[in-house]
Symmetry: C3
Subunit: 265 residues, 3 copies
């Protein structure tokens, strides 16, 4: 017996939301053998950018052929499109509002279609919950082998949203905090690749975030004593600021969007 592809769910419904369970009920009703994984439901409400970062960070750990459903959808019920995109061999279902844009900057989708064929949806579609009424049934049918091309007409390009660019200057890189993880660590948008040739010696490199500064680039948290602010390349491959054994975001009062500067000599 061959296993159906995994379906992953990412939403902004909040941890443990019964709305997620409704989506799962719809999926299992159409494909009783479906296999579901929660990516996270704690995307901040309507924060498409945060959802896009999480998709970029987590979906690469899943096999090609997985079906990733994303519901961060402030425009639900308006004329915004719902799309299905094939990217790097996996299928993504989402509103066309930028949720897929971090991943699409890395790899161009090979196929994009708009979801326009109601025969693959629930018979009754609400105006406020297309995750349950459109995306969930479409995901279930794709997991049963439905062809992406049947879902609707091809779309030329995804909606783009602007992303603050990381600035690389001689001896200096400027980016920003792009997310706070559950330990309160400050994950920036500065990728490891941009720091590959910079020194790590505390005498030669300084990292600044808001009014706070730390020296050196470390490999892991325990290289510094508790309560110390340190910079390191985090597990997602981006520069991260952490306070050892503490919650940096709370202690320093720092939120996403705060500028981060790396300077070296």
């Amino acid at each position: 017996m061959s296993l159906p592809p995994l379906i992953t769910l990412l939403t902004d419904f909040g941890a443990d939301s019964p709305y997620v369970a409704a989506m799962k009920g719809v999926i299992y009703s159409l494909n009783p053998a479906a296999r579901l994984v929660d990516l996270t439901h704690s995307v901040p409400p309507q924060d498409v950018r945060a959802g896009a970062w999480t998709w970029e960070e987590i979906t690469p750990f899943f096999s090609r052929g997985s079906i990733h459903v994303g519901v961060v959808d402030p425009g639900v019920g308006t004329s915004r499109r719902l799309i299905c995109a094939v990217l790097d061999g996996s299928i993504f279902l989402a509103p066309d509002n930028g949720l897929l844009s971090r991943l699409a900057r890395r790899t161009a989708p090979t196929t994009i279609v708009a979801l326009t064929e109601p025969e693959y949806w629930l018979p009754q579609v609400s105006r406020t919950f297309h995750g349950r009424d459109v995306l969930a049934p479409v995901a279930a049918r794709l997991s049963l082998g439905l062809d992406v091309g049947l879902l609707g007409p091809p779309v030329e390009r995804l909606v783009e949203i602007s992303w603050p660019e990381v600035l690389v200057m001689p001896g200096k890189i400027q980016g920003a905090v792009r997310s706070i993880d559950s330990f309160g660590n400050l994950v920036t948008d500065i990728p490891a690749a941009k720091l590959a040739d910079v020194p790590t010696d505390p005498e030669r490199i300084r990292v600044r975030c808001d009014e706070h500064e730390t020296q050196g680039l470390f490999k892991t948290y325990a290289e510094q004593p508790p309560m110390t602010l340190l910079a390191l390349i985090g597990s997602s491959g981006y520069l991260e600021l952490a306070i050892v054994e503490e919650n940096a975001s709370m202690m320093l009062g720092i939120r996403t969007g705060t500028p981060v500067t790396v300077e070296w000599t």
Copy 2:
């Protein structure tokens, strides 16, 4: 190979509670092929009414034949009964304290039995966690095909709890906020059916909740600008009040039970 029915779990143990994992361990130990779905574990502690609303809203999205386990059980260890009810082809396991009463108002159960036969429970039953020691093993055995009738003697009627009634008057309906969703939207107990014939034009209909008032009946959140209070039929089929892109419950300080009035001309 035929798949065993899904077992869903709804509790008030809190999101991510290890007590839920204990129930899952018990179920998998008895039926290694069991298939489990979390409905939610964020029912407010001991709030039987909130659990009853969630069951009414979410279980219809699951296939007939599913096994729904509900543990909101302030009377655990007292003489309150545990029951198994068959309703609309699905099986419900719960304390007999009203948790099933919203669903039972819609459709009468075809079978109700009291759980009295200890051979289907864990060998040792605690006085404070019947979800783990009685309901979980019974759910596992039902998923293996055990007959409901073996669990104990028939019960004539479920315990009833009182529900505030929605009042329909000429040009006016009065209900209440019955739950707050994870976006802070105020979900009322006024069903869409009762509003089918009322006008939606902002000049003809007003919705009031506490001291707050909004005009018109909309179809989706994005029909009004951010920060606007609006009324719409939510995805669960009930009248809902929301502040566009904001948390209405927090901004207005409104809790469940607050009266909601709809008036039209």
Copy 3:
């Protein structure tokens, strides 16, 4: 078709963390038929003792042969070992920092090996997320039948951490609050066995926690009226203090570590 063993996950990543999803992606990529259960991800950050208690309490409800993965790992990236231990027929994967020490006090592991063979890990191992890069792929391979002995060399003994001992005196037992459950109940480290012969009559037994005192030893919450502080043997087999229908931890401001004294005549 025989089912692969369950893999359970316990971490301090926080409820609904996408980091957990990354671990799941790694596991499913290596064993598409893997079967995963979340124990909890709400272990307080870096609180190895709290994780050890949860493992002791919950893992016995899972079948022998299960694979339990624990990631509470303040020393990630340092020279601390990662280990695989076989205990009571089940497999445990964790940093060797005491996370397994509550269980190991009950039953000695029959096998302990250090994880030193990188061929079973992800090809690239970060310095800050060994749960994803080492433990998850090892768990997946064990679920496919890999022999524990291949993971690395035997280890003679686990790292021990100190545990406050429960003091038993004539007519008196002294312990401490070891965890707060999601209802706010105060779970102590005083096991039921040590209370088997003490009287339960309110006139003969007093339980004190901080400045608060209650009389009698009850069987379930509902034996006392709402708002009453009462002592009982909780579902985990330890003495517990609860306020009926309320959150004792919040109402009394009590945290883990607070001494608890039982005295009887």
